[in-house]
């Protein structure tokens, strides 16, 4: 009989992250919270990435995989995303602390603001490497499909929101919310994979 994996599943932690970001985005866009508090609140859901990846790694160690596939490429992907997430948390925390407390010069603010963005680029790079390294063609197709759905979802929202914002219909949304929308799009892509192919995908 198959052994039931211990602890919460990666789906649980992923859902918690999505839910948290949705709530923070709602509060931020409606100006219910100010910018410094928004930055601080954005760190907390990213911290949930740690139990998410521990849960995913545990599943791989138990002979399974995060969602499907043989696991090797996914294991490397998980490690890369964990590193990028750790860098994101550290650089974001540093940026919030300095900008909020020390009021640094524009040059220093630029230096502080670039690393969190680079860490997010690192996550996109990890997804790209997963597509290259995944040897299972069916799983690779699921990942590509998931990524295309995520890109379509986030770019569509960004386009519509941008014009609505220009027409003063909706409040301003900072550009760093679009990668968050892309990650939500990955979750939507996983559901669409499940409906069409019976497997969630691997991201």
């Amino acid at each position: 009989m198959a052994q039931r994996p211990k602890g919460r599943s990666p789906f649980f932690w992923g859902s918690m992250i999505m839910l948290s970001y949705a709530v923070i985005a709602g509060l931020s866009i409606t100006d219910a919270i100010d910018a410094p508090l928004n930055f601080i609140l954005m760190i907390a859901p990213a911290g949930l990435m740690v139990p998410l990846f521990r849960s995913a790694s545990r599943r791989i160690d138990q002979g399974g995989s995060i969602m499907c596939g043989k696991g090797q490429a996914q294991l490397r992907y998980t490690k890369r995303v964990m590193i990028c997430t750790a860098l994101y948390l550290a650089s974001f925390g540093l940026m919030v602390f300095f900008i909020d407390q020390r009021e640094p010069s524009e040059a220093l603010r630029t230096v502080l603001a670039v690393p969190p963005g680079l860490a997010v680029i690192g996550i996109f790079w990890a997804v790209g490497r997963l597509i290259i390294e995944e040897q299972d063609e069916f799983v690779r197709m699921l990942i590509i499909r998931q990524s295309l759905i995520a890109s379509g979802f986030s770019l569509s929202i960004a386009s519509v929101w941008g014009f609505l914002e220009a027409a003063d219909v909706v409040p301003h949304a900072d550009a760093y919310w679009w990668p968050v929308a892309w990650f939500i799009g990955l979750a939507i892509g996983a559901v669409m994979n499940r409906v069409k192919f019976g497997s969630w995908g691997a991201v």
Partner: protein
């Protein structure tokens, strides 16, 4: 595309996981091919034919 994967696998008493291990793919891939949700690439179709020691056209056929 139709295929006889499920029947051929049953004749040999192989589980989906057994076949997946022989093909070096995930069990989900075997399931998706068996149920007709995913058509394998030509290299994978050749590999499947090799594992069953049969010609591709004896395993796969057009709808």
């Amino acid at each position: 595309m139709k295929n006889r994967l499920k029947v051929l696998r049953a004749e040999r008493s192989w589980s989906q996981q057994d076949l997946a291990d022989k093909l070096n793919v995930s069990r989900q891939s075997v399931n998706a091919i068996e149920t007709g949700k995913y058509d394998p690439s030509l290299p994978l179709a050749f590999k499947i034919a090799e594992v069953f020691d049969m010609a591709i056209e004896a395993i796969f056929e057009r709808d």
